[in-house]
């Protein structure tokens, strides 16, 4: 049986982004951008793609006096992430 890898989480940057979000309740845009080491435009592209499939929720807010976006995982996103990681682990286990 071939495990189901989630196409939305296939890009390594997306998996890293979602995994980073499991460590917090909510994170601010610049914090995620620095953690991922990507440009603003790349991060917002990933964020909107993942929000469109309901994995992330984002809201406008303020951080250190500047307008910014706060991002958090949804229940759906959490479930999909664990399923995706389980599928990856199956692939890894498949070689042993």
């Amino acid at each position: 049986m071939r495990p189901d890898v989630d196409p939305h989480l296939h890009a390594p940057a997306r998996l890293r982004l979602m995994t980073m979000l499991t460590a917090v309740s909510e994170a601010e845009f610049a914090t995620l951008r620095d953690g991922l080491d990507v440009s603003d435009s790349v991060l917002s592209k990933h964020l909107s793609a993942l929000a469109a499939v309901g994995y992330l929720r984002s809201r406008k807010g303020v951080h250190r006096g500047r307008r910014t976006t706060w991002v958090s995982l949804t229940q759906e996103g959490r479930r999909s992430l664990s399923a995706h990681i389980a599928a990856l682990r199956e692939i890894i286990a498949g070689v042993d």
Binding site: A23, S25, A27, I91
Partner: protein
Amino acid sequence: MLVAGTSGTGKTTLAARVADVLDVPHVEIDALFHGPGWTPRPTFVAEVAEFSAGPAQVTEWQYGQVRPLLAARADLLVWLDLPRAVVMRQVVRRTVVRRVHRQRLWHDNVEPPLRTLLTDPEHIARWAWSTHSEGPGRGGDRSRGPGRPRPDTCQPGKLSGTLSTMENITGPPTPGEASSAIADAEAGRAALAHRMALPPVFLTSIGAAVALQIGTFAVGLSGLSGVSGVSPSWVLVAGFAVLLAVAGGQLVRFRAINGVWLGGLLSRVVGGTATAASVSYAAALAAATWAALVGVWWLVPPCAVVGGVAYALSGRRWIRSYRSEPDTHSRGESAAWLAVLTVLTVLATTGLVLLIAHA
């Protein structure tokens, strides 16, 4: 890989997208060149040499003095040779949007006022107009070597389509890719958890506020029962108010420093829902209250201090376990459960106060 083209053709946009698809670093060369106040940075050439020595990278083909460095490491040069009308529309739109929003570019620079289009011969839009016909494929570029092969050409739409296809590759990863993806993601999370910094005197101030609250609660209750002469209700309320203010202030500072919100920190450390914190708090509160009621005053401060210290130590333990397993500790109790706990605590405290006041 290098992306060439005049200002506003979309070099940085394309470079960022390619870097993302290929999962290699993108260095925006403008960010290395422009220092504060649009002055050139002295370390520019050294930094370009440093990043271009890496195994793979994407950047923009700019700044004559570093082109030999960039060219020596490149195996692909993409020239965005778009019609002048398209470039002008893009560069004007970008400049206006950046100026209107006072968008902070590299090293906090902002676009100069729009009127400089008329006064500055090197204004970005005028630059784009006049350098439009120059490029690595035409005579305008001095770095063109004699033995250079003729470039392939393609329409912008096709380039974009190829990138979209690359972005949506959905074939299952190989075991090697799978394990490196997981390792990379976990490393990112661990780094985030380790970067998390507590504001100065975070635990100390919470512990001190808890100790103060325990002490004032005990003294206030004894006042209500007529044991001491202190005005009871004010002392009680002041203790709670100080605790709330300290807790709230520290949480806001934590968020401002780290750019994240941690539900676990709120409920386990500040709210004291960790077992060690709630048990020691209840015990210290009970002991201090009993001591005050029976008039053993010397026992109240040590009880309060022990309660505060235990609270802070339990917080420190939580932070350690958070750093080792961030995903299991990041979230605190659910909002509903926290509400139930708050209601129960308020009811219990009010009941105790009423009981003692009427006794």
